[in-house]
């Protein structure tokens, strides 16, 4: 039995069957307007209607504005968070004065969820565009910063000693040893940051946006276009997953020497 499950041919079939089964359960629950009292499927659109709504969106002239404004906001917020998070992380992880002077205020801000910043962000930024990018930025900053700090702090002390004994000056040590040694941890931070980025963006768009995937999802609710809600949700999931995969691929490309533990070559 175990042999059958592990066979390369059977595995994707099994995985696909599992997804199909879930869609089928959804279809049955939605078409029969299943009511379990604590939760009801009476207003949940069935899969066929969702597919139809997706088809409509694909041919709508509004698709590109929705997608591009979301991508643009994520790009800006994530880009700023990556630059600042990695930069600050390298300094804080390596330099004692930076650790003592820069980390405390960041530690105070860290436990505040990015979503809790929304009201203040709206007050702080003259344009709603700015406040949404800011929320995205805050969401991505801390995972990137903390993973970078962790990566720098866990660089093997013997590696640094060796590099110094081979004639590495203090400034070159950063580029030659610290950054590459911390790179796997930094990429992990970027990948997690990308996930939280989408999460925060969608929330911000629901409140302040005019275009964007999050706005589309919320608007569908307010105009009672229920199938479109699910289309928006699936689109958000796809975008978030896609961008995380992209980062992971880029990481593998840039670090051919690195393989996760336990993975075969």
């Amino acid at each position: 039995m175990a042999g059958l499950i592990d066979s390369v041919k059977v595995r994707p079939l099994l995985q696909a069957a599992s997804v199909l089964l879930c869609v089928l359960l959804w279809h049955v629950a939605a078409t029969h307007r299943l009511n379990l009292h604590v939760l009801s499927f009476a207003n949940v659109p069935p899969p066929a209607e969702v597919a139809e709504a997706a088809w409509r969106l694909l041919h709508s002239p509004k698709l590109w504005p929705h997608l591009s404004s979301s991508l643009w906001r994520v790009g800006l917020g994530f880009g700023a968070a990556a630059v600042l998070g990695v930069g600050l992380g390298l300094l804080i992880g390596r330099l004692r004065w930076a650790h003592l002077s820069l980390l405390p205020p960041l530690e105070v801000l860290r436990p505040i969820p990015a979503v809790a910043w929304i009201p203040l962000a709206i007050l702080m930024f003259p344009s709603s565009e700015g406040s949404m990018v800011f929320i995205t930025f805050i969401g991505a900053l801390f995972p990137i910063l903390l993973n970078t700090i962790h990566g720098v702090e866990s660089v093997d002390a013997r590696l640094i000693a060796s590099a110094r004994s081979l004639g590495t000056g203090r400034a070159r040590l950063f580029a030659e040893v610290i950054v590459p040694a911390a790179a796997p941890s930094i990429v992990t931070g970027l990948s997690i940051g990308m996930g939280t980025c989408w999460f925060c963006l969608v929330t911000a768009e629901m409140i302040a946006g005019q275009y964007g995937i999050g706005y589309y999802t919320w608007e569908s609710y307010t105009v009672q276009a229920y199938p479109s809600i699910v289309v928006g949700m699936l689109a958000i999931g796809a975008m978030g997953m896609g961008s995380s995969v992209l980062i992971r691929r880029a990481g593998d490309r840039l670090m051919p020497w690195h393989r996760p533990q336990g993975a075969a070559r």
Binding site: R158, A161, S162, A163, R164, A181, G195, Q261
Partner: protein, 284 residues
Amino acid sequence: MSGAQHHGRVRIEHVSVELGDGGSRFEVLHDVSLQVEPGEFICLLGPSGCGKSTLLGALAGHLQPARGTLQLDGEPIAGPDPRRGLVFQHHTLFPWKTVLDNTSYGLKMQGVARAERERRARELLALVGLQGFEQRYPRELSGGMQQRVEIARVLINHPRVLLMDEPFGALDALTRSRMQELLLELWARMRTTVLFVTHDIDEALFLADRVLILSPRPGRIVEELRVPFERPRNAALLTQPAFTALKRRCLQLLRHDGDGDAPPLERLTPLGPPQPEPAWRFAT
């Protein structure tokens, strides 16, 4: 590969080293004095935790002695320097660099052009028997091969003194004896001064001109043995009666000092213990 007979004189005078902070500060080495001639092969032999590695750390310039002076060719030792090459028990190759880039790293730091430094690295890699492995990454090599690269990476700087901290301690017996022979071969070519730390009596007697025996903490030099065996040496030496006699003497000296039943001291790792590579996970 020119010799360096005129360089590599090491002078250690009344050196004491302390480790730890504040109340937990303790003396690791006590009043150690030692003169090493250029081109000499010295083995420091002693039990775990006696401060052998600490002495190498101080010579490499990574640790500051509490008292005493350390000199190389009349110059006081201040901070790390490529003229004093350091080799650890577990390799410290850069995992993100190929064998070739690891080996030529020291020349890169000196500003040598890429073509020239790669030529010299290839030469040295051939000398340690790693031709054809230039483009591999360290994790793709066996432990013995990793140590060969580590040694090549240090030798490319033509160090005046080679500081080796149990460099073959983690290898299997067969690989270890091959590496010992390779090291003697390289040393015969380059004639650099070597300070070699080990707790393996066979290894010390096979390699050294002089063996210095250290006491448990705080480490002091308790005895000095001249090793008279002719060079070049090979593994057959290990079974000769003269070798066995000297080995017996070493054992007596090591057992005699202090009480033989004392529990072994905790291994000191003044430059930090080797760390496993962190796992790379994606928590999305």
